[in-house]
Amino acid sequence: HFWTDSSPAGCSHVNGYKVDNWRQNLRVIYQCFVWSGTAETRRRKAKSCICHMCGAHLNRLHSCLYCVFFGCFTKKHIHEHAKNKRHNLAIDLLYGGIYCFVCQDYIYDKDMEQIAKEEQRKVFGLLSDCSVSVHSTGIGEKYTTWEPTKRELELFRHNPKRRKITTNCTIGLRGLINLGNTCFMNCIVQALTHTPLLRDFFLSDRHKCEMQSNSCLVCEMSQLFQEFYSGHRSPHIPFRLLHLVWTHARHLAGYEQQDAHEFLIAALDVLHRHYDNGKKTNNPNHCNCIIDQIFTGGLQSDVTCQVCHGVSTTIDPFWDISLDLPGSPTPFWPLSPGGDGSTVNGENHLSGSTTLTDCLRRFTRPEHLGSNAKIKCGGCHSYQESTKQLTMKKLPIVACFHLKRFEHSAKLRRKITTYVSFPLELDMTPFMASSKESRVNGQYQQSVDVLNNDNKYSLFAVVNHQGTLESGHYTSFIRQHKDQWFKCDDAIITKASIKDVLDSEGYLLFYHKQFLEYE
């Protein structure tokens, strides 16, 4: 199969058009009537682009290439014009495609497409063209779809093997060798490699490293994604990752049994630091690295003076939310009155069992700070008793909830194994700072706003700990392809059911925002 020079996608009928100043004429048509980039051209297009026969401005309007005539395609008015005037070429004003009435099909001519592409890019502000003043409309199309060259097409035809990631595909899943009680690290790696935004970031090669040595953790993370998508079946040995994390987070190494949550925070911290290639950003609060974009939320703390009711507000960044459980030294109950809020998130509410929503309600309840903890009130100019309340000011794209199961107080070290049920879908609206006013006696008065999707989250990874404080084992469940779940037990990856996941004890819960807004 050999391609000739004249592309079969084009046609010979354009040769009659390609005379004299045709390039400039075509450019004008694209600038004025197809890719209208300025307010002025848009206005002109809206007013003048109507069918010369029926006055409609919809119906797939086309412009004749040989004269000033607009005709709709649907009602065949442009076809009539083509026949009567023997003008055999027209252009679709919506997408800029060229239609040949002799071939009776849209044709793709290399020269004409080149002009179309250039004019389009000018409109999106990419090429500088002094004669065209361009407003940035924000609908940037900085990237064009990849198209194979003729040579590449040839190669593809001769090499028919393809790797396509479908729903029943193992690509993207891989086991991890336990390097000696490193199951805590393996679980965090599984959660991170299955975080959709993080995966997309690394697979589109967005990290350009400028670090001199081989010690960039972000590069290693990128390499991890390559390993997971390589199609290899044997488990990966994450020894380089362990080495990098321990050399950059020395405080971690040295405990016999490590905590998965601690590892997560340390890993995120090192990734965040390395993102700017080791350069210190001037303002650590305004870092725009991928870690901050995905994981950083804002926690609002409001302290209300009981005397003058003045409120002092601070907002702190967070990467995770640590939640107390019933059975911990500080009393879990009584919650704010209102009984079970299980209908808010549709969790398995076996009577008496704690839900994630319960934990979040407790976390965001107003807490009366006793007479031993008086705050200096700016309004009263004296020390007064106050209440403190935590709420979410800004939700991260990935919300990680840490159930505080491990107690390391001076008196005892133990694990709290209370079952906490957590939902597949979570609505964070009741816990937002903006929802505070809607609380009556601490119970959120929920006016169900079905259309507001901003605060809806989906579970995508669960890290579990089995066993006791002294000897235990971490495993994880991760979600792939929307509704498939897999259990990751170091080197062994097996299919799991949603029931397996929701019945598990739960230590770290990873939720991903369902709907992402453009910035």
Partner: protein
């Protein structure tokens, strides 16, 4: 109906709704048309076939859901002999014992400082004493609570 002629301030909601419906239908149609053009172009330019799945490869990467094997169809626990090269000392270490090795190799952790301080003290010891110390060092290679308890027990059984 020409757009300029539409009195938008009309209290008649049906006209407004009809207009909204027209615009909405047009937008949906435009989006569908865009997709048609994409496919049309791909077919005409000859690269539409690239999206076709390759049955052989799809079978190769199909998820297995059987008891006793993982999703790749592999039996559990066959990965005992994996090795890796330590980035610090470049020695070849068994993968399942890499973490305790690295802890000592990097000189971190309470085990390492204990060994290091003992080695310093050893330089002032006699040979027989240092032999006993060597045995203890070997026990430190097993980095888990179980083995540590065994080592402690053994030490208390020694007769000096």
């Amino acid at each position: 109906m020409k757009m300029e002629e539409m009195p938008l301030s009309s209290p008649d909601n049906t006209k407004l709704e009809a207009l909204m419906h027209d615009i909405y239908s047009e937008l949906v149609e435009d989006a569908c048309l865009g997709l048609c053009f994409e496919v049309h172009r791909a077919v005409k330019q000859g690269y539409f076939f690239l999206g076709e799945p390759d049955q052989e490869s799809m079978k190769e990467f199909e998820i297995v859901d059987q008891p006793g094997v993982d999703i790749f169809g592999q039996v559990f626990n066959q990965w005992k002999n994996k090795e890796c090269e330590c980035p610090n000392c470049n020695r070849l270490i068994a993968a399942s014992r890499f973490a305790p090795h690295l802890e000592k190799c990097l000189g971190m952790g309470r085990n390492s400082s204990r060994i290091a301080s003992r080695r310093l003290a050893r330089n002032n010891m006699s040979k027989s004493e240092s032999d006993q110390e060597d045995n203890d060092d070997l026990n430190d290679n097993d980095w888990s609570y179980g083995a540590e308890k065994k080592a402690k027990k053994r030490r208390s059984d020694k007769v000096f």
